[in-house]
């Protein structure tokens, strides 16, 4: 975007990293998940993804709102939500194909009484309609519905935040707090299920991201406050990391003690428990101070692929979900040895990065002004072929 102000590469970098982590963490029993953020933090890539998505949504659509007005900004947001929706349905179709195929060709009698197609798809006609309404959310297809819902209501959030941030932030926090106290959830399909990512709780993270993003357009005003809070934030991050790391090690090697395991476990992800949220904000404050907007490492060739992944987040997210399903299939079908695991992870990350590179190229050519396009073309090329 030539007219846009300098893009904050930190956002792209960390979102790209989150997408790679989501890919790795979604392959069950993947040894490389020991090296993703959830191994030593109470939060995981989902928090990073939702927060940055809120932040960038405010940056991008806040600019549209300022330059092109409310109607156009709304239309752009809704069109993005529609894109996400189509992507979600696409992933759903692939999931259904996989389940139907596996369950109907099942040969193991020890499982015939335990699971039937009916358990997945009791009434296929209802299930498909419920999927269209985002109420049917099979495993791993649960984060996009949250994102779609949040974007759909985003115009109102954005207008409110522009008008007077506390007008949105206070109700948003109260709702989050209400969920922690009352444990209310949003029902899903089939009967008795709830939205895995409870939108009533997770909206707060997205909106907090949006509020900071909108604020960030006016420069790093908070940096002074963040510097002051740094010691406390660093303490929280350090303590939380220590505790979580001890759980991870305890999981691998039983004699190692899991600190406060009995007191703190389980930590509710559905409702974004404060035990996840507080260390996340603490880590955010630390990173915002330590990693400068123009940090050198964000411009190194080594981090470039991650930045690109973060810039093409929708495509790379969907691809990552597909690749982790495929990777899981390879590992369970052929060999789950450490060499194969390494190969599967590496191949997946490579495919994600190359795809991001390709999409970036495709979009950049599309964005070029016609005069530039002519320059790139070999002489005598047909100008009407676009």
């Amino acid at each position: 975007m030539p007219a846009a102000q300098q893009r904050d590469r930190r956002l792209d970098f960390f979102r790209g990293l989150a997408l790679i982590f989501i890919f790795i963490d979604h392959i069950p029993e993947n040894i490389f998940s020991y090296f993703t953020v959830q191994a030593f933090q109470f939060y995981d890539a989902a928090e990073i993804f939702i927060f940055i998505s809120g932040y960038t949504a405010a940056l991008v659509y806040g600019r549209t709102l300022a330059l092109q007005g409310a109607s156009y900004a709304t239309a752009r947001i809704i069109s993005r939500a529609w894109q996400l929706y189509v992507a979600h349905i696409f992933l759903f179709v692939i999931f259904i194909a996989e389940v139907s195929y596996t369950v109907t060709t099942f040969k193991n009698p020890m499982y015939n009484d335990e699971m039937r197609v009916g358990d997945f798809l009791d009434e296929p006609h209802v299930a498909i309609v419920k999927a269209l309404f985002l109420e049917f959310q099979p495993t791993f297809l649960d984060i996009l519905p949250l994102y779609i819902l949040l974007l759909t209501i985003f115009p109102i959030i954005l207008f409110g935040l522009r008008l007077h941030p506390p007008l949105v932030l206070i109700p948003s926090f109260l709702l989050y707090f209400g969920v922690q106290v009352t444990d209310i959830s949003v029902p899903a399909y089939p009967e008795g299920h709830v939205w895995f990512f409870n939108p009533l709780a997770w909206q707060f993270l997205f909106i907090a991201g949006a509020a900071l993003g909108l604020d960030g357009m006016r420069g790093d005003r908070w940096l002074r406050f963040e510097r002051a809070a740094l010691p406390i934030a660093a303490l929280v991050v350090g303590a939380a990391s220590l505790v979580k790391l001890s759980w991870t090690i305890h999981g691998i090697w039983d004699p190692f003690p899991g600190l406060f395991l009995k007191e703190l476990w389980p930590i509710n992800k559905n409702n974004l428990s404060p035990i996840r949220l507080v260390p996340f904000f603490a880590a955010l404050a630390v990173i915002a101070v330590i990693v400068k907007r123009d940090a050198i490492f964000l411009r190194l060739p080594l981090t470039k692929p991650l930045v690109l992944c973060g810039q093409q987040s929708l495509e790379i997210f969907c691809l990552g979900i597909l690749l982790s399903a495929l990777g899981h299939f390879v590992l369970s079908e052929y060999n789950s040895g450490i060499v194969t695991q390494g190969f599967v992870n590496l191949a997946g990350i490579l495919i994600m990065c190359l795809t991001a590179k390709m999409i970036d190229w495709y979009k950049s050519v599309g964005r070029m002004a016609p005069s530039q396009v002519i320059e790139v073309r070999p002489p005598g090329a047909d100008l009407g072929g676009r």
């Binding site: 069950p28 029993e29 996989e98 009698p109 759980w247 691998i252 039983d254 299939f329």
Partner: protein, 253 residues
């Protein structure tokens, strides 16, 4: 996925070297079929079964209730005589001849942990068991019950049994390599093992054991004719019973 307890073979690679030395070797039943063979590191039996030990020590009658799903009923093998609870009873009677031992089968296919928990007052408690073997998790994973709800049901059940001074042994899911591609067991396995961990309750690692057998190609249903599958299922249940008996014996030490 949050992998608190890492249930992979990869974990074995890491943990095996560290903990193998610390674990006592599993007792092998005389004449155990070679196909039941599994590495000792799979079993982490660190907690005791004090009430069962007391009864056996005093040569008093022992009643064990096995509550669970389809794999507890043993329907796949053709009869409840071939299910793991009955096989377990036969093995324990052989090992501890001075106590009359019964293992009651309370399996009902396709129930979640919560549904099993609701059967405790009718199916489990009236039997006055000294040990409850609770095989669960499969239906929860198939239906995608919330992992926290699953953990909460387990916790309630454990609290109830502990309050009644009943020993507990949890049994995790069955492994089959075609199911793991469509069902995400990991979260449920982690939750089940962690609930066992924080409550000092043993978990019998059926999933890992069956995965090991599957990888060794010991029990592979893929190339087996339809009428021979029940026989193969019976063999698997028999091995499970043998390993479970061995786990109980470790916990009685």
């Amino acid at each position: 996925m949050i992998s608190s307890r890492f249930v992979g073979k990869s974990a074995l690679l890491l943990a095996g070297a560290l903990s193998a030395a610390a674990l006592p070797p599993l007792p092998r039943a005389l004449g155990e079929p070679a196909e039941c063979e599994a590495p000792d590191e799979l079993m982490h039996i660190d907690d005791k079964l004090p009430r069962l030990a007391e009864r056996l020590h005093a040569n008093e009658p022992v009643k064990i209730v096995a509550i669970g799903g389809a794999s507890t009923t043993g329907l796949a093998a053709g009869s409840s005589e071939l299910a793991y609870p009955h096989r377990l009873q036969e093995i324990l009677i052989r090992w501890y001849p001075s106590s009359p031992i019964t293992v009651v089968n309370r399996g009902i296919p396709r129930q979640t942990a919560q549904q099993m928990l609701e059967r405790f007052p009718t199916d489990v408690i009236p039997e006055d068991p000294v040990l409850v073997i609770w095989e669960t998790g499969t239906t929860d994973a198939v239906r995608g019950v919330g992992v926290d709800d699953f953990a909460a049901a387990l916790q309630t059940g454990i609290d109830d049994l502990k309050a009644r001074s009943i020993d507990i042994m949890l049994v995790d899911m069955q492994f089959s390599h075609s199911t793991v591609t469509v069902i995400d067991f990991e979260g449920y396995l982690n939750a089940l093992h962690r609930v066992g961990d924080v409550n000092d309750v043993n978990v019998f690692p059926r999933f890992e054991m069956m995965r090991y057998w599957s990888e060794q190609n010991v029990f592979n249903f893929d190339g087996v004719a339809k009428d021979e599958r029940a026989g193969l299922a019976a063999k698997v249940y028999d091995c499970i019973a043998r390993k479970l008996a061995a786990a109980i014996r470790i916990a009685l030490r």
